[in-house]
């Protein structure tokens, strides 16, 4: 009887994890093609060094092995929330300064932006489902784009898209871990943070 009551929760985990993974893959695919058109329209080279560009969440995980499920999901959520803001800036800069007539290109960015918003929502939902509660929106304080040169805007946009692509890869990996963990923990309450 007890198991019958608890069984929907892991199912929901897995279902939600699958959806998040699917969405992350979709974003990854879209961002890959968006990157192609981005570098073409900005006259940039994909091999260009972007080390000088900061303010973009880096996907590289330094202590990946030590993060809990909640920390993983939280990191993902915070990153996508940041990308939500950054993509909005990129879109606005393209509209206002760089490619004002290229509405198809803007639509592509807009599409990725919406998917990122959806992904952030799903991650928040997953966190809530795991009993961690949705973390508060840490109001990002993006750089004032007014002080950026157009070249910096271009580099910033490229970095945002590249890191977003990396993040989607990381998210797929993280969500697999989460799914595995929720499977391992069976019907038990998955709300508690577990050390991996």
């Amino acid at each position: 009887m007890a198991s019958a009551e608890q069984s929907p929760v892991p199912l929901q985990h897995r279902s939600l994890c699958s959806r998040v993974i699917l969405l992350a893959r979709k974003i990854h695919s879209d961002v890959a093609s968006l990157l192609e058109s981005y570098v073409e329209r900005q006259g940039l080279d994909r091999t260009i060094s972007l080390d000088s560009v900061d303010g973009v969440p880096a996907a590289a995980m330094e202590q990946g092995g030590e993060l809990t499920v909640a920390e993983r999901l939280d990191a993902n959520l915070q990153a996508y929330r940041a990308f939500q803001v950054l993509l909005g800036e990129v879109l606005e800069e393209q509209r206002s300064h760089l490619t004002p007539l290229d509405t198809d290109f803007h639509a592509s960015i807009q599409s990725v932006l919406l998917q990122v918003v959806a992904l952030a929502c799903q991650l928040g939902e997953l966190l809530a489902l795991l009993g961690h509660g949705r973390p508060a929106w840490e109001a990002a304080s993006p750089e004032d784009p007014g002080h950026r040169s157009l070249f910096e805007m271009k580099l910033q946009g490229l970095k945002v898209l590249q890191e977003l692509a990396h993040w989607t890869v990381r998210s797929v990996r993280d969500l697999r871990q989460v799914a595995k963990h929720s499977q391992g923990s069976g019907a038990a309450h998955g709300g508690q943070a577990q050390k991996e």
Partner: protein, 1093 residues
């Protein structure tokens, strides 16, 4: 005496001269002043300085007394320094400088006469008040005071401005600047634009001045350089690496310098413009640059300039390259509402610049001096601008200015707003009606048109017509406009739409309003229907027909027809016949009456159509033929003077199983012909018409007419048969074609006939184009048979009969007929040759009988004389004279005798093709390859020959007997020996000529199997049969095959041998040759090999 000025002057000069003499005597003192130099900065005062040694006497002072030309009294001053400030005087100045010691005792005195030429004019050193830089435009702005107040009057001043850059202060440029000093201080401005962004390195500026005073005769020199002013530095220890210029906009084709500033400890790895790397120019230790020439238009997001630094860092900037705005083209300003004037234009060449760099447009009106900024939707490429209409202004002088960071352009247009009215599309368009012939239209046009009249065009269209109606009306403000349209057709469906323009000055029509449909109300039918009546054969009933009214006549939906029967204005009967019936039957009951028919719709009844039921009797009604016109039937008739109320032509068209539908057409009394057209008429169908004449007392049938709309060829071929045949004629009979298959009026038949076997050809005569084709045209339609004459007996003929109309020739039908044999002719054909033969036989017999002795002597002598033998003569001719038979010629041929070599063998039997001719020993090969063979026979070939065999008699025959055998050439080729039966003979004894046809193919094989005797056989073989194809080798002489070939190939079995004796009788040489190297046949080879052999 002192009052005399001249005298006083002379005395003063003398005094001074005396003084100078006194002082000059004192020269040689170290304190004596010398080397006097005077300069002036303002042409008012001058500063004089001199040299004097004062090393031993400290506390020396100098007393300077100077005298200008006036006043004469010298002015003296004392100074401790060796310089004095003196006034500048015109002409020359006498200056006496006395060196005084501390106690005031003069030590030395020197007097100078200083002419103006020795005074130098050196302006004050100018001071730069301000130096500022506009980094966006690479421009330096310089401001300084010209110190014009120093001089009392106007002067020309020249300024030199020197620009230096880099740490090493290299001169960039030196510029001269002219100004005028006005006697008071003025601030001068000057600016300079650099090729290189000012941020790239430090810039320094200094100036100096030169006063060009024409009336000053002294030296004029440049002032000292002003102190250097520096442009605020950016290349010295920048906070972070940067590339300049930042986000700059330049013209296509410009040369642009980009510099990269970087921090200490870094260096530039490369700098790229777009994807191309450029050589670095070092500006300072923290700055490098590249120079890009003739830049192309950039993409919308600009061209990137990258500066890659070591250690790993990247900086960059974006350059926008485009064009200055083009002159706005096709500027057009018009008002739609009299509230605003809308100007639109074509921007011309794209600038390749977007967003804030895109072209901005300002519309300026010169009369009102009002301007509006135009919003341009680049995405939709719409360029227009609205300017308000002013109440009391008619004329507007617009100037449209276009500007972007690279330049500006403008275009102007002067308009009278009243002449540029382009109204908005009429809105809220409604159409209504309350009658059958008119409609009310209403529409709305936004705008204030109180001052003008409007011209509106109303388009009225229905399914088959379209007309436009112009309506002029007074303008109103934001008002509805109304119009009424008359003369519409009742129950007509119309589509209305409207457009408007200014009436007085037409400029442009507005767009059409949306279309609105309207159907007018019904009205009573315009006229009564066309009617006809037909009395039944018995005459008891009368069928009344009427035609439906056209839509334009019906004025609505016809609901029914009312049929009434009047007798002397009294209505006997009335019938209401609903649609769609178009006929009704009336029982007359033996009385004739006047039939009246009216059509009814919702609005009322039509005027009645009337017709009498009376039929007048007709006599001798003829049937005439009508003429097909292709799309109608032309009918003509004779005018009848008794016909007073017109003619009626009636016909009936039947379709399928339905009863035929009666149709008619009425014509006036003076008509004599008509072309009847109907959509129901079909080509090839016969129609019957009845022409009635309307007389005062009734209708009379005048004529029947038959016709076609279009005649076609007959549908079928006539059935025809052969009734009778003889050896030279055929009687053909045919039947009529049914009327429905004629498809036209039959004009005749065409009979084709020609020799032809059944089944030999299925194509028609026309296609065959047979030369023996005979055509007979039968135009007499009453004729139903035809006899074809002059035919050959016992011959097959093909007949083809076709009918034809005006529309063409119909299909054909074939018959094959064989004429009978002509027996008389046959008999004659037999008898004549027999008779001739008999006659000839008789005559020959008689002749032979008469010449029997001569014949006997000639052909059958008792003792045959060979000389007289025809046969032998023939042979002789062949051998001697006929060069065409060289092959048969023997040389010498005359000895065609038979020489019998003495032998003990049995007598050789001469058989058909084996002609054994012993040849003398001298003709045998020298080597005598087989001399020992006693029985060999050499055969000379010269067929046909008659050989006389004189040989020892066979054992069983008496010796000395001889036999002559005559062989004709034919018999030579007769096989005499069965090769299968006597193969041995072939190899051993059958030497000599062998007909090619007789030589067995496997001869070679057999010869090979008899190898030991092969050579002998060859030696005696003579001519080798050509049929032995195995030895016909075509190999080249040098081919290995040839070399390895068998000896048997030495016999030349060439096909040409028939013409060459040499081939037929192989030379001895060949027989001796141990290694024959050519078995193939070749003349050249043959002769070449011969010497070698």
């Amino acid at each position: 005496m002192w009052d005399n000025p001249s005298l006083r002057c002379l005395l003063a000069i003398a005094f001074l001269h005396l003084l100078s003499l006194i002082y000059s005597q004192e020269t040689g003192f170290p304190e004596e002043p010398g080397n006097l130099k005077c300069i002036t900065h303002d042409l008012n005062r001058m500063i004089c300085s001199w040299d004097a040694t004062s090393s031993a006497n400290l506390g020396l002072t100098y007393k300077i007394c100077y005298t200008n030309s006036e006043p004469f009294s010298p002015v003296c001053t004392e100074t401790e320094g060796k310089r004095a400030d003196l006034p500048v005087a015109m002409g020359s100045t006498n200056i006496q400088i006395t060196t005084l010691n501390a106690s005031g005792t003069p030590l030395a005195t020197e007097t100078f006469v200083l002419p103006e030429e020795n005074v130098s004019l050196i302006p004050f050193t100018p001071q730069i008040l301000n130096l500022s830089a506009d980094f966006s435009t690479y421009t330096l702005y310089l401001k300084w005071n010209d110190s014009g107040s120093v001089f009392q009057h106007e002067l020309d001043a020249s300024w030199q401005i020197q620009i230096l850059y880099k740490e090493t202060m290299e001169t960039v440029t030196l510029i001269n600047y002219e100004s005028k000093l006005t006697g008071k201080d003025s601030i001068l401005f000057w600016n300079w634009t650099s090729d290189i962004p000012l941020e790239c390195t430090s810039y320094y500026v200094k100036i100096r001045c030169y006063i060009n005073e024409l009336y000053f005769t002294g030296r004029k020199e440049w002032s000292e350089w002003s102190p250097v002013r520096t442009v605020p530095e950016k290349d010295t220890k920048p906070n972070s690496a940067m590339v300049f210029p930042q986000d700059k906009v330049v013209l296509v084709g410009s040369n642009v310098t980009f510099c990269c500033l970087y921090n200490e400890g870094k260096s530039v790895k490369f700098m790229n413009y777009g994807s191309e790397s450029y050589p670095l120019l070092r500006l300072s230790k923290w700055s490098s640059a590249i120079k890009v020439q003739n830049v192309n238009a950039s993409i919308p997001s600009g061209t990137n300039i990258l500066c890659s630094l070591v250690p790993d860092d990247l900086e960059g900037t974006v350059l926008f390259v485009g064009y200055a705005p083009d002159t706005p083209q096709n500027l057009n300003c018009e008002t739609r509402t009299f509230i605003t004037i809308t100007c639109s234009w074509n921007p011309g060449r794209p600038t390749a610049l977007y967003t804030k760099r895109q072209t901005k447009y300002i519309l300026f009106e010169r009369i009102s001096r009002e301007k509006v900024t135009c919003k341009v939707d680049e995405l939709n490429e719409k360029h227009h601008c609205d300017f308000p209409v002013h109440a009391n202004q008619k004329i507007y002088n617009f100037t449209l200015g276009a500007s972007n960071p690279l330049g500006q352009a403008e275009s102007s247009l002067l308009i009278d707003v009243n002449q540029r009215v382009h109204l908005e599309t009429p809105d809220k368009f409604t159409v209504s009606t309350n009658s059958s012939t008119n409609a009310h239209l209403s529409w709305y046009i936004p705008g204030n048109f109180i001052k003008i009249r409007l011209l509106c065009q109303i388009e009225i269209s229905n399914s088959n017509s379209e007309q436009q109606l112009n309506v002029s009306m007074a303008g109103a403000e934001n008002s509805n406009y109304r119009a009424r349209v008359d003369a519409l057709h009742p129950y007509g469906t119309y589509t209305f739409r409207v457009r408007c323009s200014a009436s007085e000055y037409f400029w442009r029509w507005s767009k059409w309003s949306e279309g609105k449909k309207l159907t007018t109300l019904e009205a009573p039918p315009a006229r009564g229907p066309d009617i006809w009546r037909q009395r039944s054969p018995v005459g008891e009933t009368l069928t009344v027909f009427w035609k439906p009214l056209l839509l334009s006549e019906a004025n609505g939906i016809i609901l029914s027809h009312e049929v009434s029967c009047y007798l002397r204005e009294r209505m006997l009967k009335a019938y209401e016949v609903p649609v769609p019936l178009n006929s009704t039957e009336i029982k007359l009951g033996g009385n004739d009456c006047l039939i009246s028919v009216t059509a009814k719709n919702r609005a009322g009844s039509s005027p009645p159509s009337r017709i009498t039921s009376v039929d007048l009797p007709s006599d001798n009604v003829k049937t005439e033929l009508a003429i097909a016109t292709g799309n109608g039937i032309y009918i003509s008739w004779h005018s009848d003077p008794n016909v007073t109320c017109g003619y009626t032509l009636k016909w009936c068209i039947s379709s399928g199983s339905e009863p035929c539908s009666v149709d008619w057409e009425m014509f006036p009394s003076n008509a004599i012909d008509a072309v009847i057209k109907s959509a129901l008429f079909q080509p090839g169908v016969r129609y019957n018409f009845s022409l009635y004449g309307c007389k005062h007392n009734g209708y009379q049938l005048l004529q029947n007419i038959t016709g076609y709309m279009k005649e076609l060829p007959p549908k079928v071929a006539p059935n025809f048969t052969v009734e009778e045949t003889s050896s030279d004629s055929i009687l053909v009979k045919w039947e009529d074609i049914p009327v429905e298959d004629c498809q036209g009026f039959l004009k005749g038949y065409i009979l084709y006939f020609a020799k032809g076997e059944k089944g030999s050809s299925k194509t028609s005569f026309m296609e065959e184009g047979s030369p023996e084709l005979t055509v007979k045209n039968i135009t007499d339609l009453t004729k139903k048979s035809l006899r074809i004459l002059d035919l050959q007996g016992k011959t097959s003929y093909r007949l083809d009969l076709r009918a034809y109309t005006v529309g063409g020739i119909g299909p054909s039908k074939d018959l094959y007929v064989v004429t009978k044999e002509n027996s008389v002719g046959l008999i004659i054909a037999i008898l004549i040759p027999v008779a001739v033969a008999v006659v000839l036989g008789v005559m020959t017999s008689i002749l032979c009988y008469q010449k029997r002795e001569w014949i006997k002597e000639t052909f059958y002598p008792d003792i045959p004389n060979p000389e007289n033998s025809k046969a032998l003569q023939f042979q002789k001719n062949i051998c001697e004279g006929n060069t065409a038979l060289k092959t048969l010629e023997m040389n010498p041929c005359t000895p065609n005798s038979v020489e019998v070599v003495e032998t003990r063998s049995t007598v050789l039997k001469i058989e058909d093709t084996e002609i054994i001719s012993p040849v003398a020993d001298s003709e045998l090969p020298e080597d005598g390859s087989d001399p020992g063979t006693g029985s060999h026979v050499v055969v000379s070939y010269c067929p046909p020959i008659i050989e006389e065999e004189i040989s020892s008699p066979p054992i069983d025959e008496p010796v000395g007997s001889s036999q002559v055998i005559y062989i004709d050439i034919q018999s030579m080729y007769q096989p005499q020996v069965n090769p299968e039966e006597e193969p041995e003979i072939n190899f051993v004894t059958t030497a000599g000529y062998k007909p090619q046809m007789q030589l067995p193919i496997n001869n070679t094989m057999k010869m090979e199997s008899h190898a030991p005797t092969e050579e002998d056989l060859d030696k005696t073989a003579g001519y080798r049969p050509q049929a032995n194809t195995n030895v016909w080798k075509l190999d080249s002489p040098d081919s290995p095959v040839s070399i390895q070939s068998n000896n048997e190939n030495r016999s030349f079995g060439s096909p040409c041998s028939i013409n060459s004796r040499q081939f037929l009788i192989p030379p001895k040489d060949y027989e001796d040759s141990p290694t024959p190297n050519n078995t193939g046949w070749s003349f050249t080879h043959f002769f070449q090999n011969k010497p070698n052999d």
